[in-house]
Amino acid sequence: MSKILAFVESRDNRIKNSGFETASTAVKLAAELGLEAEAILIGNAVANTAAELGAYGIKKVLIAEDPKLEKYSTTAYSKILAEAAKASGADIIILSATAMGKDLSPRVSAKLEAGLVADCTEIKTEGGNIIATRPVYAGKALIDVKVTSPVKIFSLRPNVFKPVAVDGVSAEIEQHNPGITDSDLNVKVKDVIVSDEKLDVTEANVVVSGGRGLKGPENFYLVEDLAKVLGGAAGASRAIVDAGWRPHSDQVGQTGKTVSPSLYIAVGISGAIQHLAGMSSSKCIVAINKDKDAPIFQIADYGIVADALEIMPALTEEFKKVLSN
């Protein structure tokens, strides 16, 4: 019988948010299609986290453990995922479009000769078929896509599919022998360089981004302070990345990162089409810009037309006050 398999990503033996998103989406689709949903965890000691997936309605978790899998390997992980799907009879595979998911899903697609719809923002079922919606042209258009091959793979844009807790199911655990050899570890992560424990813009629920309107790198602390108070991440326009104020990893936009936080605050950013491409799917957008005609106001839900250098300290203080109540 056909099944849905969710690949659940973990880091340091903890399930990532995106992992709950894939598990929960698999459960929802399975219910609509009358199928079963299973999840797979790959890594070194990951089994003890499996129980958490029961809370999202996953009844069975496949565990592929090996000390050699402590760090990600594209070749080993893709082999394990493809073989687990085959062995369990899963013909629908759900991943997240994270750095790992984007690297892994095409390899699994080629192994299983399966069509892959990447970075979906919506998935629905229609007469037993899955129809996925995904942004193209950096979000300037959307397409509805279906997969025509027998095995179907979908990757979900992180932060878009909210995990839904269901009434207590306890997840059964099944060991899946990873069966990897040294040649499967041909691509190995030797080391992970964490950028000072800072939250990534793609993972944050609130993103505060700064642009050229901040006048100089010495004022960027205004953006960082607000991001900190809101438990969010600080992002940047390309103009200030090119000017060397911020690293490229913070750039939001068509040639930077795509973010969809609950709240996006654009500070001194004009709202060029390439910037909008990376953030227009944010749930709520706030713009602070001294030019009332700046294009950012066309997509902002709320705006203040004023000097950001004056507004920011007051805004940070006000949030501090309100959040401590």
């Binding site: 950096a138 979000g139 258009a141 360089i193 990534d200 040639t255 066309q298 309100v322």
Partner: protein, 248 residues
Amino acid sequence: MKIAVCVSQVPDTTTKVKVGSDGKTIDPAGVTYIINPYDEFAVEAALQLKEKNGGETVVVSVGKDSNKEAIKKAYAMGIEKGILVKSDSEMDSYAVARNLADVLKEINADVILFGKQSIDYDDSQVGSLVAEMLGLPSISVAVTLNIDGNTVTCEREIEGGKEVVESSLPVAITAQRGLNNPRYPNLKGIMAAKSKAIEERQPTFTENKTETISMSLPKPKSKGKIVGTDVSAVPELVKLLREEAKVI
């Protein structure tokens, strides 16, 4: 060292997208096409590898006759040979990758370079698909690239940091911005590229695994609210974010 680089041709980033008459793809009227920006990093990486290790470079593209412009851009930057797998039909990433893999199998390159993603469909699939189809290791979203003998080491961007990834030749790499600074072609390069031959081939695989049902434009947002024009608007803004938008 034999180095291959795959390039696609995409609408300019300033393009205003309109849905075409088929309801599934964009209206090409008035659109300016450019080489995919990430592919310029791939081309630059190929040229630097050749400059360091000697050898030959070849660029491959799958698509319409107009993709020759992307190949010519690669020529103008310094790539020596170009192959276009010519097809007017819409291919998905899987079909594109199969066609590339069939050409690349023959080329037998030590390093195959791609962009991390095409900025038209933003798929981020083709590089890793091709690698798997050829049974090669791959490193995606590379921001550094070092080759020492048979060992390849790259840093790749992940959420909140970087992974240091090691593999061996032959290898497929997808390039992220930051990998290098693509050179500007000089006039001589541009002139030479104009007349340089491009080998044309027929596609070997045309069966898509996905089908676009329809294309639409995102719903326009209703006009936002200007809360104020000075510091006195701050408490009101915070209140709206809490009570109306409920995001805090």
